[in-house]
Symmetry: C2
Subunit: 310 residues, 2 copies
Amino acid sequence: MLNLRYFLFLLAFLPSLTFSQNLAEKLGYPSDTKLLIIHGDDVGVSHSQTKATFDAMKYGIVNSTSMMVPTGWSAEVGEMAKEMPTADIGIHITLTNEWLNFNWGPEAGRTAVPGLANEKGHMYPDCAQVTANASPEEVEIEIRAQIKAANQMGIIPTHLDSHMGCVFYGRPEYLKSYLKIAQELNIPAMINQQMVDGIVKPNSALFEGINVEKFPVVDQLFMAEPKDYEAGMEAYYTKSLNNLTSGLNVILIHLAFDDAEMNAVTKGHETYHAPWRQADYDFFTSEKARELLKKNKVQLVTWREVGKTM
Amino acid sequence: MLNLRYFLFLLAFLPSLTFSQNLAEKLGYPSDTKLLIIHGDDVGVSHSQTKATFDAMKYGIVNSTSMMVPTGWSAEVGEMAKEMPTADIGIHITLTNEWLNFNWGPEAGRTAVPGLANEKGHMYPDCAQVTANASPEEVEIEIRAQIKAANQMGIIPTHLDSHMGCVFYGRPEYLKSYLKIAQELNIPAMINQQMVDGIVKPNSALFEGINVEKFPVVDQLFMAEPKDYEAGMEAYYTKSLNNLTSGLNVILIHLAFDDAEMNAVTKGHETYHAPWRQADYDFFTSEKARELLKKNKVQLVTWREVGKTM
């Protein structure tokens, strides 16, 4: 009986006892495990993107994605997710519309958040224009509208992240709303140490009430740049997979087919365009990518799993 | 000198002298001419639709189109129109969103016109739900928002028409706003005698201030129905072209390619789907269609030309 009491006593303190565990340990792996999320951004932006991303989750090693909500194809994400009910799907908070011929406006509507819409009612093409025009209140309204609409399409997000990083590169208040809402939903919001050190800590009064320590922090973030595309994606991703370190690694990729639709969406762009996205698809559905995971003893994890440690 | 004065005197009365001319005569053709507009609906709904329609205007006998504005691909219409500056492009007033996986909300924003958006922020799939939910004021705001946004994309509309006919099949006030705005713009709004007799005349007080007689009335409207698609589109359109009568004929078609994007847009629909639209494209870019025009002595006219008689 005494033993049981002692056990219950210990159990009550378990959260504090586990405090010093790192993320890998919390997930039940050795402390030096190379954890990896292979994250296909932008589902919902086009049929091509959504189909390629779900295919790469089914047939390749991609294990997480996040959804653009104000775009025309967001409902298809809800439909495709029905066939993969445990898929890791976050909300790719979208404040920009970077394409020439394929457009969308804010989910909350241009009347509710006029600072997020240009004179055509479409979102601005880059983060700088968002920062110049959108108030923190408008961004928070828009983030909530996107999550609500995703819910209505059947998506309960496993995590939040930010399209083109506008939440990170804009006003600190944007990052605050992003973390505050993730905290309310008790899900991870993608963040790394530079953001904590560069934005949160210098604005500690603004971030009051947000338990930043609770959020799993990404240790290494990989995303191909134009020079990597030019040198060849296979070389870039091979190097990335050979250079993962212990802790939480995230590779951000953009999967689509090099087809008529995707070429029309990305028309006029020489980067992140249809052939770039096809190259991402080709690598992350290849046998070689699978072998590199094995060779480097990489442990794939999802945001859903990571979120359970919060 | 007297002769010249007499001539000027006559000239001053020319409008009243031409009053009894029919549309063909006003356009400079014999009174019994078979006038025809071959109208490709729905540009802007997808890349596939927009590309196929512009191709059919370039390489086929399609000579008019109208643009869906709240859809994701509307900006591409503005881009493609730059290469065809005299193309006949109207506004396909869109109050519905009939597709399962490809969605859009009202151009004016769900906050401004909540009656035009369902709980996901998308337009309703059919006219009945529009009629049940959208006030006349909301519909007028939305029509104006669509025209304004089209202008901002570089489109000065040659005419108005109505996607799925919701302006005709809804509340009489919708039709009133449609005609009122066309009158303000001094462009034709597609209308036929049944609409005049069935909606305008029984609601004459509502339509006060709208000079309905000024609008060119379509004498014969052709649009393939499911039974026509089943029996074969070539047979249907051949029969239609052989059965044109003198006056203003309009053939409404829907041109797109039977490709991955269009199949995804029209998923779950057995009519007006990708193969249906490909069949429209095939016929209206065929040599046979061109020969049928010649054989039947058909005079193609555009809404732009018809509008000049107003």
